[in-house]
């Protein structure tokens, strides 16, 4: 989130200025990509150059000027060149270069219009042995800041040192001709010859590509990204939250993870996001990935609040419009996120990993001076788009001269419009009491404030990171909002030389007030009722009293102003890990790691409707409240032995065996009252009280074995297997299921035969893996239901039946890809193709409803296949001292189809009948929409017509980061989703209510010449089919844009007397604009929350908002 300057005391003004100069020179490092943009000019100039002892660099400049070629070299390398004495007259460039480089320790290469100069690889080590020596030095970054914790290793030996807090290191007794290998995460590694010197200042350059990042390769091991065989998305905190800080972490992923389909369920504060990695992997499950934070398997459920229950919106159990629990996590605590998108990468996570794994690592303390960072963001949110409303009039608009009232308040014949309504409209118009209710409710400005403070530091024994955060957001609808208070402590302790341990504690307290939106059966959802509220309605409160609505069961203004839907969560996430080195020999280490943690979540929800609300007054027992307590307790731990050894002295082998155990213990309860005493919320005093209690408990156990090998980074491979059992598997509770994996990566550029310098990386990779998906809790049971009549308890057989013999569904994936790096990885390309098959897909088996049973709750119904491609092109097209531009272009798509089906064509997921549903059909995508008209198939059976898919045809994103004059940073992220279709009921609601903006326009839609659009699109028009409601929701969206200014160090030292180490100011915006033809608040929508199918239903959601933030970050 912010830059931190280390190394206090080393920077004085005198030191600083020359450094800037040097850095500028250093970056004379030219770029190929920008050169490519030049037209292919023919360079035929001859070179003339003569002189004695000319510095090589000067000679090169001369050639550059005369030839028009660009010459690419490293300044500090060329400084080592011998001066040249030449006499060149009218020679070609090639001839001139031959003369010039005759005795130089350099090679050169001519590429189009560019000459690339490289240092010759050091000659084999000399045999002559000089006496050993002691050396010391300092490792620093390009700005001259010390890099504590960098590794300095003597090549070919076990001698190694780490830099201390001020970047200093010492090594004793090393050979005089030793080569130092200096590395630090995020920086390009360097090799330095020590011959003849004992004191070094080693400058590391920032890594421009992500290839040296470390990504997860197993439950207890990691691998360098350049060696990984899977396309693992790795997002750093800068990428996640550095540009436009999101309030919830799920929002930070949108458009950034290639291969993911991320959809915001609702625009209400507090998020609510559904993520599908490489298509859906389950029908019955949510297809949401597994989330692991610092080794703790965390809960990302959506807990029911009851807002959709009968006494409230009546929309149904999965339509509470709640957030998911990932929203609890404070985004500013996150260091990085790894996304294992499919089974080939996630196999080692076994039965929980069918939908992928998201591994979140939080920030840790670092060796060095204590750093205190304080940041304050303040922002505003406003509605991204309002749908508007149309005016009323008596003008004839229909073919027989009908007016709008005839259509909306009559039966469509001329003069049938309600006289009462016309009179009300005339009165309101005359009195000027026309109100834009949509704007009244959603036109507010929300305030967002994020405050965070972190303290980090450590010694080589103890490192700590402590943070506290305070987030407060008010929504664009009054009385809605989101709050978070968090405290986090990460502690790493080295106990002995062989034993280290870490603990992490995180307490989170979040709250959100979401109002009522989305689908509705009681006339209380605010946007739903707005669709039916004409602008001449009189609903504004008078002296605090809300008038009743004539049009809907309740007034949207009253619900927005009085009804309560709020949720509070208290959560502890505790992680621990212990690493013990049992054996530490030069070529053999054996480690024992033990890690795990606890996630305890308690979410309490309140839904309340006062007894004097219009919708409650019409009930037999007015006034309703429900108090829910959802408690989830998750524990997991794992123990691993990791053996690192060498095979044939060349192949690095990592063997691991381990044991994993997960446990979940849930308790969901609520009490509801209907018929409340006036002003009384406690259901205890209600006329009708209902309560519910649900217990859930299960355990998963796994055994893992994995072998990794690495032949000098040339060929890197993995083979592993995991055996899992889970007592969610009914009578198979004690049966182990095997999940194998294997992968191979070949780094062609690491082989000696590879000479072509511009291509710095060429990696071919392939991976295979299998994961599982366990049945939902309860899918194996056949519970007798209970019922009451006459005060007596009765039992009834269930309407769905369990399947105790169930086994997990399995997903198997093969992924292959190519990774390319050009010009020292200045430009990188990553291409991946995968085929993911899900076998024995668990789904309710819909059986003949005439049997009195609607379904088997879980049944292996068939197989499905996801195929897709992910392409990433990244690089730094421009890098000059004053301007740097880095850019990442991503493109991905996924296609899903059912390949086998043992059951009849079945409706799956949620949805509204005539407005589009999803079905399982062989050869078709399970997220494709089906609807009217019914068409006879080959057997003469009427089948619904198939429409487009809810899954996008492709997605693309473009992330850019531009740095000007060192201190200004501009970033933006543009995201494209193409060909995703929603089942959209929002316009239909407005058409029926007469409030669509184009209601009275006549476009002769649906074979209804002369009929206004609002009437022609209405489902009461017999010609209208599901085509009307299944709508293209493609969009372009500017997800993030930001501009930051870091106050120069010079200023901080001079004016602030060095009391502040860093000061950063900025402004950012999220979702600033969206280009779409879609009718609705947001093309990203899910009325039914996180579901694998049937999610993309748009039924009057809470409108999405755009946000603008101002940032201030101070480091001490």
């Amino acid at each position: 989130m912010q830059l931190n300057f280390l190394c206090k005391g080393h920077s004085t003004l005198r030191l600083f200025l020359p450094k800037v100069f040097i850095i500028m020179k250093l970056t004379v490092f030219l770029i190929i990509i920008s050169c490519m943009q030049l037209s292919a000019k023919v360079y035929s100039q001859k070179i003339t150059l003569s002189g004695k002892n000319i510095p090589l660099e000067k000679a090169l400049h001369t050639i550059e000027q005369q030839s028009g070629y660009f010459i690419l070299y490293k300044y500090n390398e060329v400084q080592k060149a011998k001066p040249v004495s030449v006499s060149i007259e009218n020679k070609t460039v090639t001839e001139a270069l031959i003369l010039l480089f005759k005795d130089q320790p350099f090679t050169y290469q001519i590429e189009n219009n560019t000459i690339i100069i490289n240092e010759k690889k050091p000659a084999p080590e000399k045999i002559q042995a000089l006496p050993p020596k002691n050396i010391k030095g300092k490792v620093q970054d390009e700005k001259g800041e010390a890099l504590p914790g960098a590794t300095v290793k003597v090549r070919g030996s076990q001698m190694v040192a780490a830099t201390d807090a001020s970047g200093q290191f010492e090594l004793s007794n090393i050979p005089d001709d030793a080569i130092l290998q200096v590395s630090f995460i995020g920086y390009k590694p360097r090799e330095i010859a020590t011959t003849g010197a004992t004191n070094f200042t080693i400058t590391l350059e920032m890594e421009e590509s992500s290839l040296t990042e470390v990504v997860v390769s197993g439950l207890a091991t990691t691998i360098k990204r350049s060696n990984a065989a899977n396309a693992v998305s790795h997002l750093t905190s800068k990428e996640l939250t550095g540009s436009a800080p999101p309030v919830t972490i799920d929002g930070a992923l949108s458009g950034k993870v290639v291969g993911a389909n991320i959809v915001a369920n609702s625009g209400a504060p507090g998020g609510g996001i559904s993520i599908k990695l490489r298509g859906i992997s389950s029908i019955i499950g949510s297809s949401e990935p597994l989330y692991v934070i610092d080794g703790v398997f965390v809960n990302n459920s959506q807990f029911a609040t009851g807002a959709g229950a009968g006494p409230f919106s009546g929309a149904g159990a999965n339509q509470d419009q709640v957030t998911n629990r990932l929203s609890d996590i404070n985004p500013s605590d996150i260091e990085s996120i790894d996304v294992l998108k499919g089974p080939s990468a996630g196999a080692i996570y076994g039965t929980r990993a069918n939908a992928g794994v998201v591994i979140i690592t939080t920030k840790k303390g670092k060796v060095g001076q204590t750093r205190v960072n304080v940041s304050q963001d303040y922002g505003f949110s406003s509605v991204a788009k309002l749908l508007g409303s149309s005016d009323w009039s008596l003008d004839p608009i229909g073919p027989q001269g009908q007016n709008k009232f005839d259509y909306v308040f009559g039966n469509g014949t001329k003069g049938s419009g309600s006289a009462t309504e016309i009179a009300l409209w005339q009165k309101a118009t005359a009195e000027g009491k026309i109100t834009d209710y949509e704007k009244y409710i959603y036109g507010n400005i929300g305030n967002i404030s994020n405050t965070s403070i972190s303290i980090a530091g450590g010694t080589d024994k103890t490192k700590y990171f402590l943070s506290a955060g305070l987030n407060d957001e008010t929504g664009i609808e009054k009385r809605t909002g989101f709050q978070r208070r968090s405290i986090k402590l990460n502690l790493d302790q080295t106990l002995t030389k062989f034993w280290t341990f870490s603990i992490g504690s995180n307490y989170l307290n979040t709250g959100n007030q979401r109002g009522f939106s989305g689908n509705d059966n009681r006339g209380v959802s605010v946007p739903y009722t707005l669709a039916y509220t004409p602008n001449y309605a009189q609903l504004l409160p008078v002296d605090g009293v809300y008038p009743d609505s004539r049009y809907t069961a309740d007034s949207p203004v009253a619900i927005s102003g009085r009804a309560v839907n709020t949720e509070t969560t208290n959560r502890f996430i505790q992680s621990f890990s212990s690493n013990m080195t049992l054996l530490n020999k030069p070529n053999h280490t054996l480690k024992f790691t033990f890690s795990g943690g606890v996630d305890f979540v308690l979410t309490e929800a309140e839904v309340y409707m006062p007894e004097d609300l219009q919708s409650q007054k019409s009930k037999p027992n007015p006034g309703a409240s429900r108090y829910s307590k959802n408690r989830s307790f998750n524990t997991n731990y794992q123990a691993f032995l990791i053996d690192n050894w060498k095979l044939f002295k060349k192949i690095d082998m990592t063997s691991q065996v381990g044991f994993v155990k997960l446990g979940t213990n849930n308790d969901f309860s609520w009490i509801q009252g209907e018929g409340l005493l006036p002003k009384q919320r406690n259901p205890n005093n209600a006329t009708v009280r209902t309560a519910s209690e649900t217990f859930q408990q299960w355990t998963d156990i796994g055994f893992v074995g994995q072998q990794e090998f690495n032949w000098e980074d040339k060929i890197v491979g993995t083979a592993g297997i995991r055996f899992d059992k889970s007592n969610l598997n009914g009578i198979n509770y004690n049966k182990y299921f095997a999940f194998p994996r294997g992968s191979l990566a070949i780094n062609i550029t690491k082989f000696d035969f590879w000479k072509y310098e511009p291509i710095s990386q060429l990696k071919l990779r392939a991976a295979f893996g299998r994961t599982g998906g366990v049945p939902n809790y309860g899918a194996t049971f056949n519970p007798l239901g209970t019922t009451i009549i006459d005060g007596k308890l009765g039992t009834v057989t269930p309407t769905t039946v369990g399947n105790a013999a169930i086994e997990p569904e399995t997903a198997q994936e093969i992924e292959g890809g190519i990774d390319l790096g050009f010009f020292n990885n200045r430009l990188t390309f990553e291409g991946t193709y995968y085929v993911k098959n899900v076998y024995n897909l668990l789904n309710p088996y819909t059986i003949s409803s005439g049997t009195g049973v609607t379904q088997f709750n879980a049944y292996p119904v068939g197989d499905l296949q996801n195929k897709g491609m992910e392409l990433t092109l990244g690089g730094t097209p421009i890098k000059t001292p004053n301007f740097t531009w880095t850019s990442t272009l991503q493109y991905w798509y996924n296609r899903t189809k059912v390949t086998r089906l043992t059951i009849p064509n079945s409706i799956v997921g949620s949805g509204f009948s005539i407005y589009g549903r999803n079905q399982l059909r062989v050869g078709a995508s399970p997220t494709a929409w089906y609807g009217t008209p019914n068409v006879a198939d080959a057997d003469g059976v009427l089948q619904s017509t198939q429409y487009e898919d809810a899954q996008p045809k492709f997605q693309a994103s473009w992330q850019n980061n531009l740095t000007f004059f060192k201190n200004f940073e501009l970033s933006f992220l543009l995201h494209r989703s193409y060909g995703n279709f929603n089942s959209n009921l929002t316009r239909k609601q407005k058409d029926v209510g007469g409030t669509t903006a184009d209601w009275s326009v006549v476009d002769n839609l649906w074979g209804m010449p002369g009929v206004p659009n609002g009437k022609a699109r209405n489902p009461s028009n017999p010609g209208v089919t599901a085509r009307e409601f299944i709508q293209d929701a493609s969009y372009w969206r500017l997800r993030e844009v930001s501009l930051y200014y870091s106050v120069p160090k010079v200023y901080l030292i001079n004016k602030l007397h060095n009391s502040v180490q860093s000061l950063r100011l900025g402004v950012s915006a999220t979702n600033l604009f969206t280009i779409t033809n879609y009718f609705g608040y947001n093309p990203e929508v899910s009325n039914f929350g996180n579901q694998s199918v049937g999610a993309s239903v748009d039924n009057t959601p809470y409108p999405s908002s755009k946000r603008i933030f101002f940032h201030l970050a101070v480091g001490f």
Partner: protein
């Protein structure tokens, strides 16, 4: 060396801990912590388990009833559900949708409900057959009860599905006794034959069922709580089947075994009871007056075509109530709320003497026994505050066609919004006489066969 000792001891301790507590590697089968399993009652059920199963059948018999009345009432143009949150009640259901019902229509909800009642009755019977805690006589009474309820539920579904027919047999799919593999659909007529057979079988079993049921009969069945008196309900359902079969003599025979009392109270009969007790249902048909969210309003001709002073339409006991504000929605205008129940705990009649009298009138008229037909119709008219036919319509007393019109009209008003009008007009081929307030709408003859049923047959050809 010191380190190695420490390491060794830690490792040993860890290993010991794991070996000692092998339970670490154990998982137990989960026993549902929230509910008892079905298997606990399917064999060796205790007396109290049987009692609870019997109560369960009586309780869940109520499911689907309100939905059927609202769907059949809408198609039969008795009522409209002007729900602003579900427009399909006035579009798809009234026949405006292109191509009729949607394949996946939500209006077949009562189909599964009644099928479930049937299954529950059958499993109750199986549990009774499979235990020794009750005597053979008591088992007979349970069998008679269950077969009657099954037939009643099948008749409800058959009325909605009409010529689509229903499935009348089942066998096992996954486990013995699970009834999950359905037989083929059979025609409307064949279905009626099966329902009649079940009712007759049930009557025989009730005759052999002793003097008392082995389970609790709830208060809604007051007067029908013994095998002998419950048989009267069985015969009333049999009479309805006979009417559908146009077996007028059979209907009269069945009625004679029922609780028909031409001169008795028209309200006699079993009812569904409701309460606000937690876990119980409230009357799903009850609505407060002047509701806006989803008022169920009467089709206006029900009022305008009524005879003056008909207490079923006018006055304190009317089934409809004038709204304070008209409800205008999607081209339909609601002036009158349906208001048949005073509150949400009011009972709903399952089948009352009034309907039996009307069936008696119908069968008599169809058998050309006009005198008894007129007597029965006069009972209905008088109870509704109307003059006898001899006074009001003297010309129709011996006119069979006009008497049938009158009988249907009395059924319209007496059985308003009880799921009869649509079927009555269909029985007499008069669907085209039903009013159509929306020019683009049409009156369906029957519901569409449920999607799941169609797809099942496609995959499992019989």
């Amino acid at each position: 060396m010191k380190y190695y000792k420490l390491k060794t001891s830690i490792l040993l301790a860890g290993a010991l801990l794991i070996v000692e507590s092998c339970s670490v590697f154990q998982t137990k089968q989960i026993i549902d912590p929230n509910s008892p399993g079905v298997e606990t009652v399917l064999s060796n059920a205790t007396a109290s388990q049987l009692d609870q199963l019997g109560i369960g059948v009586q309780s869940t018999m109520r499911n689907g009833f309100a939905n059927l009345r609202l769907v059949a009432g809408s198609i039969g143009r008795e009522v409209y559900n002007l729900s602003s949150t579900e427009t399909t009640w006035v579009t798809e259901l009234l026949g405006t949708t292109n191509g009729g019902f949607n394949n996946n229509t939500g209006f077949n909800g009562s189909y599964s409900d009644f099928a479930q009642t049937r299954r529950r009755a059958d499993l109750f019977q199986r549990s009774a057959n499979n235990t020794s805690t009750v005597s053979e006589t008591q088992k007979n009474s349970i069998r008679g009860f269950c077969n009657t309820i099954q037939a009643w539920a099948m008749l409800k579904n058959l009325n909605m599905q009409y010529q689509n027919g229903i499935r009348i047999t089942f066998s096992d799919l996954a486990a013995p006794g699970d009834l999950l593999k359905p037989g083929p659909f059979v025609s409307y007529d064949a279905s009626l034959v099966e329902i009649k057979r079940l009712l007759d079988l049930g009557a025989t079993q009730l005759d052999a069922g002793g003097t008392a049921f082995a389970f609790t009969m709830t208060s809604g069945w007051a007067g029908f709580t013994t095998p002998a008196t419950f048989k009267k309900f069985n015969r009333a359902v049999a009479a309805e089947v006979a009417i559908y079969q146009k077996d007028w003599t059979g209907a009269l025979t069945a009625l004679s075994g029922s609780y028909l009392a031409v001169a008795g109270s028209i309200s006699t009969g079993p009812v569904f009871t409701y309460s606000t007790t937690s876990g119980d249902m409230t009357n799903p048909t009850f609505k407060v007056k002047n509701d806006i969210a989803s008022p169920v309003v009467a089709q206006n001709l029900f009022i305008t075509e009524a005879e003056a002073s008909d207490t079923r339409v006018f006055g304190a006991n009317a089934k409809v109530a004038l709204r304070t504000t008209e409800r205008s929605f999607a081209g339909l205008l609601g002036k009158y709320d349906v208001y048949m129940y005073a509150n949400n705990t009011a009972s709903i009649s399952i089948m009352r003497n009034e309907e039996l009298i009307l069936m008696y009138a119908e069968a008599s008229i169809q058998n050309n026994d006009f005198a008894n037909g007129v007597i029965a119709l006069d009972v209905i008219r008088t109870s509704a505050g109307l003059p006898k036919l001899a006074v009001a319509k003297p010309t129709i007393l011996v006119d069979k066609a006009k008497l049938i019109d009158e009988m249907l009209n009395q059924r319209r008003y007496s059985l308003f919004y009880e799921g009869h009008r649509w079927f009555d007009m269909r029985r007499y081929n008069r669907l085209d006489q039903l009013p159509n307030d929306l020019p683009t709408a049409k009156v369906y003859t029957q519901m569409i066969r449920p999607f799941a049923e169609v797809q099942w047959d496609l995959k499992n050809p019989q």
